[in-house]
């Protein structure tokens, strides 16, 4: 009975990704099982070495690294989309699991939601 929150929009250009993270952390705070799926341009949230201070935004790298501690069950990333954006495993934040975004993946969750 876990929820999948999907982030398919890239970081910094918009707020939808942050708002999706807030949704996931809220569920975790209420002890509701939740995982995050990054796909499409959303996989760029997972790149190591982001310096969003240059656009005066806060890094989410620490939040994502601490996601398991906050109670988020898994950080999933679409492997094809990672390839498309040149994200090899070494470029990805730790604790990310590569998956295929297919019907089977979604069937494992009772709810799936986007932030916008």
């Amino acid at each position: 009975m876990s929820t999948l929150i999907v982030i398919d929009q890239p970081p910094y250009g918009g707020w939808a990704g942050r708002e999706a993270l807030d949704m996931a952390f809220s569920l975790a705070a209420f002890d509701q099982p939740v995982s995050l799926l990054f796909c499409g341009a959303g996989v760029n949230w997972l790149r190591k070495g982001q310096e969003p201070g240059t656009v005066r935004q806060k890094s989410v790298e620490k939040n994502l690294a601490a996601a398991p501690i906050f109670g988020v069950e898994a950080l999933l990333a679409d492997s094809d989309d990672c390839n498309r954006y040149g994200l090899e495993p070494g470029h990805l934040l730790d604790s990310v699991t590569l998956v295929r975004t297919d019907p089977q993946l979604f069937a494992g969750y009772s709810h799936t939601a986007f932030a916008g």
Partner: protein, 93 residues
């Protein structure tokens, strides 16, 4: 009344990456309901949807795409509500 595994509510035009993603993820026991800009992808969705495909009548008529492809089953908002109650899960794309 057959049960629906997942009802996918798709409101994006076929230009939007979520349109293709939705059709990739929807399985044969699922239903895809095209609403808003989604109805513009009727032809593309008919070709690739593995489950059942429906389109919202008001949005089809607004965009003038109802008459051209008379094959899709259309629903109104009453039927859309019923679909959400018959589906185990609802995903809005």
């Amino acid at each position: 009344m057959t049960e629906i595994k997942t009802l996918h509510i798709l409101n994006k035009s076929p230009e939007h990456p979520r349109f293709t993603r939705c059709l990739t993820v929807a399985g044969p026991e699922d239903t895809v309901l095209l609403i808003e800009n989604g109805v513009l992808g009727l032809v593309a969705a008919s070709a690739s949807a593995s489950g059942k495909l429906l389109a919202l009548d008001a949005d089809l008529a607004a965009r003038g795409v109802g008459n051209q492809s008379g094959t899709v089953e259309t629903v109104d908002y009453d039927a859309m509500v019923e679909l959400t109650t018959r589906a185990q899960q609802v995903i809005s794309w």
